[in-house]
Structure formats: structure tokens, C-alpha cells
């Protein structure tokens, strides 16, 4: 497949797959129970026994960071999926029905006027911290932007004469949206979804860092960093490793998104 030849897709995709592998295979990658407390071995520096060291409760950081991958990936992918579904539904409706367009877009503008992180934090204060609630909060913050993008694409595609041809060929509006508009809108949706997943991982980390995200019983890169914050000047490795993993994950997903954007854009793709 020509897509694989694209360096951004190959590298970004490879890294993402690597992360998925880590998340799935965590129990077999030399980890121990990430919640196992060992007060005698508090805040030990990285060694042969604890590759990333231990935290203030003596828990093995290597295991915690690797298991933390699961949280980030689950949040990243789920938010991307939900945002795409909801954003697309809203965007399609808005683009196809001019009368509802104004109202819907004003509501979306209102939600978008609050920075997504603040919005997510505000929403999390209304409930207790859990991965599920984190996902819902971030989706709520990111969906309007997706709907705006989809609506823009729909408005352009609506003017294509193949849409007029489909009308003349007797297809009703919902069928036209599903069969003609949506497939041609997939490219920008996929690209935006990859950016959303990167953003979601960062927001989750921030929420957890602030104590408003994943509860500490489940290790996530954000709450590991939160716990290590007070000690970071003397024991920087507690914050360091999760930070590296988070950066790598976000980088990989963004790179994949850039690659997909180039590969799926018909104008750019033809030149290659």
C-alpha cells in the first residue's frame, strides 16, 4: 500500500503500534503488580531491580508507566472515536439543513469559546474522577471543533455536481449524505481524529496531574507525574519517565495524523 511508503505514516504508525503492543502485553514485559506497595523501597533511583526506580510508596515505576500506557491509549482512542461520531453527526446535520445550521453553530461556538482544558476541568469538578468521566468530559470539549470541520466539508461537497446528479437520480437526502458526502469527508475526519486523540492524551494527563482525572488506584502518566511533582528536584526520574512516554505518544499520533493528511489529500497525494 502506498500509504506505508510515506515516512510519517510509517514512523508515526509504527510508534503507535508499539504503544499498543506495550499496553496489551504489559503483564509480560517484565512488570510486576503496579499497585504493589513496598514502603521499604521508597523513591529508589533506577536500578537493575527497578528499571525506572520506585515512587514514594515503593511501587515499581517501570510497571506503573507501562500500565499507564493503557489509560492514555484508551482515553485517546475512545475520545477520538466518540468525537468523530458525535462531531460528524452534528456537522452533517448542520451542513445539510441550513435552517438548523445557525442555531447549531452558535451553540458549538459557545462551547468552543472555553479552552478545552478548562472546560474539561470544570466538567470534572461536577463528578468524581474516573476514566469514563474523563472520556466524556474531553469528548464534550473536543466535539464542537470536529463538527465545525465536518460542516465545512459538507458545505463544499454539497456544491459538487455529483450531489446534484444523485438528487436527479432519485436518491433522497439521507442516502446522499451517507453514500456520497460522508465517504468524501472521511479524510479530514480521520486526520482531525488523530489530532484529537493526541490532545485527549494530554488533557487526561493534565486532569490527572491536577487530581481531577484518573484516580491514583489506576496508574496513568498524569497521576504518576502528579505524585512525583513534589519530589522532582531531588528525584526527577519519577516525573521524567512518564513525561517521556507521554511526549512520545503524542508525537507519534501527531506524526501519524500529518502523514494521513498528506496521503489522503488528493492534491498532495497525486504529486507523490
Amino acid at each position: 500500500m502506498t500509504a506505508l511508503r510515506h515516512p510519517a505514516i510509517a514512523i508515526g504508525g509504527g510508534l503507535v503500534l508499539g504503544m499498543v503492543a506495550i499496553a496489551l502485553l504489559a503483564p509480560w514485559l517484565g512488570t510486576i503488580d503496579p499497585t504493589q506497595i513496598a514502603p521499604a523501597a521508597r523513591t529508589r533511583a533506577p536500578s537493575a531491580e527497578h528499571w525506572f526506580g520506585t515512587d514514594m510508596l515503593g511501587r515499581d515505576l517501570y510497571s506503573r508507566v507501562l500500565y499507564g500506557t493503557r489509560v492514555s491509549l484508551v482515553v485517546g482512542f475512545t475520545v477520538a472515536l466518540l468525537t468523530s461520531a458525535i462531531g460528524t453527526a452534528i456537522g452533517l446535520t448542520s451542513g445539510a439543513l441550513p435552517r438548523l445550521d445557525d442555531i447549531i453553530m452558535r451553540v458549538m461556538d459557545g462551547i468552543m469559546s472555553v479552552p478545552p482544558i478548562l472546560l474539561a476541568i470544570a466538567l470534572m469538578t461536577l463528578t468524581r474522577g474516573s476514566i469514563g468521566n474523563v472520556i466524556i468530559a474531553i469528548t464534550f470539549a473536543e466535539a464542537p471543533r470536529m463538527s465545525r470541520i465536518v460542516r465545512g466539508v459538507v458545505l463544499v461537497l454539497r456544491e459538487q455536481s455529483y450531489v446534484d446528479a444523485a438528487i436527479t437520480a432519485g436518491s433522497p437526502t439521507p442516502v446522499i449524505l451517507w453514500r456520497h458526502v460522508l465517504p468524501n469527508a472521511l479524510a479530514p475526519i480521520i486526520v482531525q481524529a488523530s489530532y484529537v486523540s493526541a490532545s485527549a492524551m494530554i488533557v487526561e494527563a493534565i486532569l490527572s496531574f491536577l487530581g481531577a482525572g484518573t484516580p491514583t488506584s489506576t496508574p496513568s502518566w498524569g497521576n504518576i507525574m502528579a505524585e512525583g511533582r513534589s519530589l522532582w528536584q531531588v528525584k526527577p526520574f519519577i516525573v521524567f519517565f512518564p513525561a517521556v512516554f507521554l511526549s512520545l505518544a503524542v508525537f507519534a499520533v501527531n506524526l501519524l495524523g500529518d502523514g494521513l493528511r498528506d496521503a489522503l489529500d488528493p492534491r498532495v497525494a497525486k504529486k507523490a
Binding site: T168, G170, H180
Partner: protein, 322 residues
Amino acid sequence: MTVPLIEVRDLKKHFPAGRASVVHAVDGVSFTIGRGETLALVGESGCGKSTVGRTLLRLQDPTSGEIWLDGRRIDGLSPGVFRPMRRKMQVIFQDPFSSLDPRMKVSDILAEPIRNFGLAKSRRDLADRVSRSLDMVRLPGSSADRYPHQFSGGQRQRIAIARALAAEPELIVCDEAVSALDVSVKAKIVNLLADLQAGLGLGLLFISHDLAVVDAIAHRIAVMYLGRIVEQGTRRQVFAAPRHPYTQALLSAVPQPEPGAARRRILLSGEIPSPIDRPAGCHFHTRCPMAMPICRQTEPTPMTGTDGHYVSCHLEQSTNRT
């Protein structure tokens, strides 16, 4: 007296344009199209010919006026009731690159109308019909499995024609269908359309700005200017003996591949006025080489001679017509 395939009476289509102004894109247009007949709608930018086509197909709804298809009035019908009737009126658009969904295989593109109008009795029948449509436009059967971007502009227009034919229509609206094609390709598509019309008894509404192409394919011609028909008649009447000054100027402006031929060119002064702010009286008076004082004040009353030749011009009224 057979009912004409299409009858349009006093069709108007207005678009709001900003605060208080209105674009009179189509302003009282009437014509008929008989079975097996090609009516060409010609004119330049802003004349409204494309809008007429789109309104006829009900891609837009008319502001007022009547549209009759096969003896039945269709302009007021709800979309649901009208949809099955769309089978009878199909369309070919100008741009071969945006008129075919790039993500669909040719077979799916052709199958769409067949399925929508319930024309196929079985999966086998559907495949046969797709095949037959490709045959009719002289494309190989293998085209069905390919995608639009694998074809040239002329071939894509053939696919568009095949899609129109797949619905077994009675009328095809050709909206500048050959304008974007090279000269040699244009010739083939024009011939193809003429052959299909003769073979299937189709009516064609041929919308074009290219008078030479119109000359090759049309039976009757209507000339439009700023939303109105200024002259209408058979090809012989309009092209050999044009009566409206605009038609005369239009014909004389077409460059002919005969170097050194005496050029009796009528040069019109000025630009085509904006459809928002149309001149009073006869819309054409600002550019008309024969404008009289009355042209600036009153709209001319259209007159139709006994031979069916329709002209809307004050000059007609000052001479007696039999």
C-alpha cells in the same frame, strides 16, 4: 394534439442578494419540448439558462410559474411525491471531473438510478442494465470496475451520459455538457448525443453558450438575455434569419474558421449588465445598436408569427408581420 413532453409557462426564479435587492435570474420564461426534439437554450453569462435547467430539474424550486412534465404539473409537488418522476428527466453537467463521485466505482454510479427507480428485477438484471448503458455510450464493459479518475474527460462525460440513460429517461438536460471538452472530443460526444436521441426518441434541453455546437445538434433554439427569452424558433429561423438585434450580434461574434472572409461583425458596446440592476424598459437597450427612445421606457411585447417564430423587440412591433 399530443401533449408536449415538457411545457414551461412563465417560469420565474429570483434569488435574494443582500439587503433589499433581488437577482432576477429567470424572469418569465416559457417554452415547450416535444418528444425526440432538441431545444437549445443559448445565451451568455447571467442570462439564466443554467438556472432554467436546474429549476426544471427541481434542483431548485421556482419562485413562480408552471412546469408540466408529460401532461402533469410538477412544480408544486412535494419532494417525496416528485422523486419517482425524476426518472423521466435526467441531467449531464458541464464538469466531467466533479459530476462523478470520485469514491464510487462506475458500476455503482450507474446502478444508483437503476436501484432508486426500481428498474431492475434482479441482481443479474441490474448488471445487465449497467452493461447495456456502457454499450450505448461506446465504453468497454470493463469500465464498470474502474474509478472515475482512471478515465479522460471525454470518457467521463460518456459515463455521465450512461448514468442518465440508465434511468430510461424521456428528457435529458445537457447543461454545457460539451463545453469543457477538447474540440475533437466534443465532436464525438455531440455525435453520440444526436445518435442516442434519434435511437431512443429522447427530448434534449441543450444549454450552451457555443452557437456552433448548437447549430450541429438543435432543432429549435431559444436565445436568452438577462433572464428572458428574446427570440425563439426553429434552427433555420433563428440562425438563418435572426430578428432580434442580440441574436444577430451573437451570431456575428462567433469566430469562423475562414480567414479573410468578409466579417460583418456587429460589435456590442459595453458590458453585460448585472442581473441585480437591470436596465429599465428593454433590458438589452444599453447595448443595442438599434435602440430607440421607446426601448428605454417600455418592455417590448413579445410577438409570435404564424410560423412559430417568437421575438421580443420593439422593432417587430413597428413592422407588420404576417
